[in-house]
């Protein structure tokens, strides 16, 4: 470079650049500083010892530290705002005087900016997820409170019916005919069964939600369970003049390793639900088949069907209320969430297709060898 530019370069470094410039005597006294040092540190550093400006020099500064050194050295300096800052210093020696030129570690700063930006992105993402989850929890808590209210009303209604029937029978003595007595006893039995089912489902739900779902695996033919379920529900279906059809090869046999009782519980729930939401005189069809390593059973009804908006949440527990059946049958709304959890614990699942006013099909997939998804 032409020496003609030397004066303007000196002018630039000493007055305008963002480079620290300090002239220091052999004894370590600061003799002169440039404009940026004046701005960054303090004008009064002139006359002080370099040890008071450079931090973390446990044995103090001495000239040998800088002599014969060609590479830039990183030093922390005490700045005027009280925060230490790092600069990469080159040292030059002439006429018993040291010239320190220190530039900020630009590469380091750029890397840190990128890293901090990336961390901010991740942290704000976590913050977003937390806020969203928090809103969901608040909503779930509200739904849970509403659900408890509905359950309490159901229990009070059942207890009142039992209490009224018992009081009437006690007060009437022998005045009631056998027919009336039977009707009252039937009512007591029905309401007791309703409450027992309610409490059982609440307990099941509690166990499953707290993660306590243990499968007792055994080998059995799932088709037999489907047949047993159909038989079990014939009487209940008959009361609504509903036909239960089975449409599968009865002689087919394959063995599943699963929790027989829990699988039965799922089918019982789906079957009673199908009857509950089917119209009097309609029919319900059971279809079963094996496909690859799974057993499938589809329960198809021509009942009320489910509205598209509701369909997504039918496996969500603690919806504020469950829908009444076609003849006013009640339920807790817990059966489907429990059934789905049971099937998932087996590594299977329940799918549903439904059209409002036309009916629903629930498809249960049971892997022939259960593998827990918990």
């Amino acid at each position: 470079m032409s020496p003609k530019f030397a004066p303007c370069m000196i002018e630039y470094v000493w007055k305008q650049s963002e480079i620290l410039g300090l002239l220091v005597s052999k004894d370590g006294l600061i003799l002169e500083i440039n404009g940026y040092t004046e701005q960054k540190l303090h004008p009064e550093v002139i006359g002080k010892n370099i040890n008071q400006v450079f931090l973390f020099l446990p044995e103090g500064w001495h000239p040998e530290l800088c002599l014969h050194r060609d590479n830039a050295e990183l030093y922390a300096v005490a700045t005027g705002n009280g925060h230490p800052e790092n600069f990469l210093f080159l040292t030059f020696y002439a006429d018993d005087t040291f010239l320190f030129l220190g530039q900020p570690p630009f590469e380091d700063t750029a890397t840190n900016t990128t890293l901090l930006s990336s961390l901010t992105t991740d942290l704000t993402h976590i913050s977003r997820q937390l806020e969203k989850k928090n809103a969901e929890l608040k909503n779930a808590n509200q739904v849970k409170n509403e659900f408890l209210g509905v359950i309490a009303l159901d229990i009070r209604s059942a207890v009142s019916t039992i209490s009224d029937a018992a009081t009437m029978m006690a007060d009437a003595g022998d005045a009631f005919t056998a027919e009336i007595q039977k009707a009252l006893l039937d009512s007591i039995r029905d309401q007791s069964n309703f409450m027992r089912n309610l409490v059982t489902q609440l307990l099941d739900f509690r166990s499953i939600e707290t993660g306590i779902i243990s499968l007792h695996l055994e080998s059995f033919n799932p088709l037999e369970i489907v047949n047993t379920t159909i038989l079990y529900y014939q009487l209940m279906a008959k009361k609504k003049a509903i036909n239960l059809h089975s449409n599968f090869p009865q002689d087919a046999c394959s063995i599943a390793v699963a929790d027989k009782q829990k699988f039965q519980q799922v089918l019982h729930h789906l079957c009673s639900n199908a009857i509950k939401f089917s119209f009097t005189g309609s029919s319900i069809t059971f279809r079963s088949w094996w496909e690859e390593a799974s057993f499938f059973v589809a329960i198809e009804d021509n009942g009320t069907g489910i509205a598209p908006g509701t369909l997504r949440s039918i496996f969500t527990p603690l919806r504020s209320s469950s829908t009444l059946g076609t003849t006013g049958e009640r339920g807790t709304g817990l059966g489907l969430p429990i059934s789905q959890k049971i099937m998932k614990a087996h590594g299977g699942k329940i799918r549903v297709k439904s059209e409002l006013g036309k009916g629903s099909t629930f498809l249960v997939e049971l892997p022939l060898k259960a593998h827990s998804q918990q």
Binding site: T113, T114, S117, T120, T121, K132, R312, S313
Partner: protein, 228 residues
């Protein structure tokens, strides 16, 4: 507290913008935070804050960088500050009523360019959608693992860097093959030079240019659903 009408709140909010941008460029987080909190106190519409402050300031910052008025480092800090400021809106945003629709939003792999996708995700929430923001590029696996109850009604992918388009195209094709009924949209700076209809013909995926176009698309989506 003086209540403002929607239009006067918008005008008032707009008057805060120049100072907000200055504070953002000065990396003065406290001042920016105070402004956003003030807007929330004034019950300025969240859409107005997203478009009139966050989106607008990011465009302005980007333009200043392109004009060599600010450094890339400053641009990154302004983006990071904006991402942090957006979190101030979340307690209000997620308490809004839901419309029962689910969307899945994905973004490019580049960490510093995800804010656009995040704003899109938040905009979905603003419009009543339940939105899952992936914070990473979409793969077929994300959908294959979904339960029926969690399966999205719509998929959106935002991309900032155009060289990532070919990889995205492959994933979109795979998803389209397996889930032909699933509506998909894309958007972001990566598509600036892509022709809408050419893209639509090639991929079968709709290109949505900005938040207004997104709102119009979602409105059409709802109309189609009602008509079905």
């Amino acid at each position: 507290m003086v209540k403002h009408s929607a239009s006067s709140a918008t005008k008032l909010a707009a008057s805060y913008y120049p100072q907000y941008l200055q504070d953002l460029l000065g990396c003065n987080y406290a001042a920016c935070e105070a402004t956003i909190k003030q807007l929330l106190t004034l019950e300025v519409d969240l859409k107005e804050i997203y478009t009139g402050f966050f989106q607008r300031s990011l465009y302005d910052v980007g333009r200043l960088w392109e004009q060599n008025k600010i450094t890339v480092s400053k641009e990154h800090v302004a983006t990071a500050l904006t991402e942090t400021l957006i979190t101030l809106l979340y307690p209000v945003l997620f308490q809004r009523p839901r419309a029962g629709r689910k969307a899945m939003i994905a973004c490019g792999a580049e960490g510093t360019h995800r804010i656009g996708a995040k704003i899109v995700a938040d905009y979905f929430e603003l419009l009543g959608w339940d939105c899952e923001f992936l914070n990473e590029p979409l793969t077929f696996k994300h959908l294959a693992e979904k339960d029926d109850a969690d399966f999205p009604d719509l998929l959106a992918h935002s991309l900032s860097l155009s060289f990532q388009i070919p990889i995205l195209e492959q994933e979109l094709h795979l998803i389209k093959t397996h889930f032909p009924q699933l509506p998909m949209i894309v958007g972001g700076q990566a598509f600036t030079k892509i022709d809408d209809s050419a893209w639509q013909n090639k991929t079968g995926v709709t290109l949505v240019r900005n938040l207004d176009a997104l709102e119009a698309y979602l409105l059409q989506y709802e109309c189609r659903k009602v008509g079905e």
